[in-house]
Amino acid sequence: MIKCPYCGHDNMEGALVCDECGLNLWEDLQDEVPTRELEDEANELSVKSGWGTATFQDRNQVIIHIRDAAEPVTIAPGSEFLIGRHDTSSGITPDLDLTPHGALEKGVSRIHAALRRGEDVLSIVDLDSANGTFLNGQRLAANQSRLLRDGDEIRLGKLVMHIYFK
């Protein structure tokens, strides 16, 4: 059995491409991790076994579990909800300020990403951040929104958080 590192699907022995998500399993196995630091990072990406719903209605709220934070943050995002860190010089304050969670050290940009509410869906978009936004381990292309699902893992630079719908 070969477990897909991207979507967690159990593939048959001998599979070269994930039957579920199309990942090239062989190349993925060959990509050796070069440095210790990155390896730790790779280990942090827990492979999810199931998929949550993508339906996000008006009454829904988002609960964000920030890794190593004591309390989860509950938000009710509007049409655009900015995530980043506060900057005194420019006076920028995003809707969710990650400064208390070590945003600066972990490479979170001032305007890093945004949650966008669509019709019954919630998506995330990377706003051309310096260190990138990762959705379930996959780096997002800048300014291209991706749907979020209940239970998704988001990483801004090195800051990991999980998203739950309520």
């Binding site: 022995e13 001998g14 491409v17």
Partner: protein, 491 residues
Amino acid sequence: MSFVDYYAILGIDPAASRDDLRQAYRLAARRFHPDVNKATGSSALFRDINKAYEVLNDPASRAEYDHLWQDYAITTPSLNVDIIYSRKCLRPISEPQLLYVLVKIQPLLEMSMTTDAPLNLCLVVDRSTSMKGARIQHVKSAVHRIIDDSAAEDYLSVVAFSDNADVLIPAQHPVDPRSIKSVISIMRADGATAILAGLQAGLAQIKRNIQPKYVNHIVLITDGRTYGDEGDCLTLADEARDLGIGISAMGIGEDWNDRFLDALASRTGGASAYINSAAAVSRFLQERVRSLATAYAERTELIVGPVPGANIKAIIRTSPDPMSMESDLQPIPLGSLDGKLGTKLLVQFHLNTGETPDGNFYVGRIDVSGQVLGSVHREERIIKDLVVEITNQPVEEDPPPELLDALSRLALYRLQDRAREAVEEGDFVEATRKLEFLATRLFESGEKNLGQAALHEAQRVAQTQRFSEEGIKQLKYGTRAFLPVLGDRND
């Protein structure tokens, strides 16, 4: 009737004794007899095995056969079939395992320089109301190009259809291109889309000059859906295939039924294409006709017969004109074999090897046949047995890059296909998920436009629970266009 190598079919030496023969027959029966093996390909193979045994087991008929075999044995085959395995060694485990096999059918090199095959071609053109304006104009000039390009020995006919079909140009050698072009020029667009009527008239024209050394082919160009006669069209395609006539289908715009046109083409081993702008019609049609003219063999067929411990999960033609083939309809028609590209197919097996290590595992048999055109004109048949090794020894095996490449591309096409199935089953969450996977893979491969299209459809499905006709065709034919292994067109 073509010559069949019974010794190859039974896998024995021509000098084999009757005991050897019986043993070989018993082994073959254990593998392919319909009582133990329900796969349609295997039953097709067993018919020949039976016949081979009947002929060779009788000393008198064997002597007669051997006489013919001597002549056969000294001729060099004109087709080559290469088998590429995803791996040659498998571990002995109790769970099923995957094995991919790439089947490459190619002309033998020294013979690939033969001149173009003569065509017996019928263009069946939609002239329904929806074709009005630019579409019909582009189709007219496309047909004009084909008339100009045709060779003196070709047979050409043109049928236009709307509510019914008119033979604009009855089958003839293009001796007077100007006058036949003028007939095309006055074609007007009105009425509905009755594809069956068009195909029937087209088939009748092809039948008038049907010859084995010709490439006999119908090209259908349409922009709409035919109502109520799709089943009859498919029956007609089966009839065409049995006569050795291929059908290719080209859909213009968004409103035609892609599954229907695919089925129509695949039944005869033909090709189908999506033409999103009318201006591209001429290029597509020219390319299609050129590929027919450079055909090296016609009426090629493939049989894949697995043993009882092996199951065919999918058979996909990866090049040219990628298409999923129905493994339950065997022999699988592959149509004409392009002299340059050859034909490549990917077969996916699920194997139950069991836990007994060490030894060979016989997966099944590949049987390729076709009529080679040109100077060597004859029926060719190549048989290949598929065997892998079962071993507990750790083996370092890199999958062949060619196969890996084909698989990665194929994965995109299948994601698209499964997203569509999910929508049809009403599972919109699953469909959205598949489309998002597809978008991710497309962005990874640098295909930004298609990736965007996939994302767009994902949002659309999530919100409206439907695909857009345009989006689904763009994704389907876009991911399909990806399938030919890179470099194919140039080497």
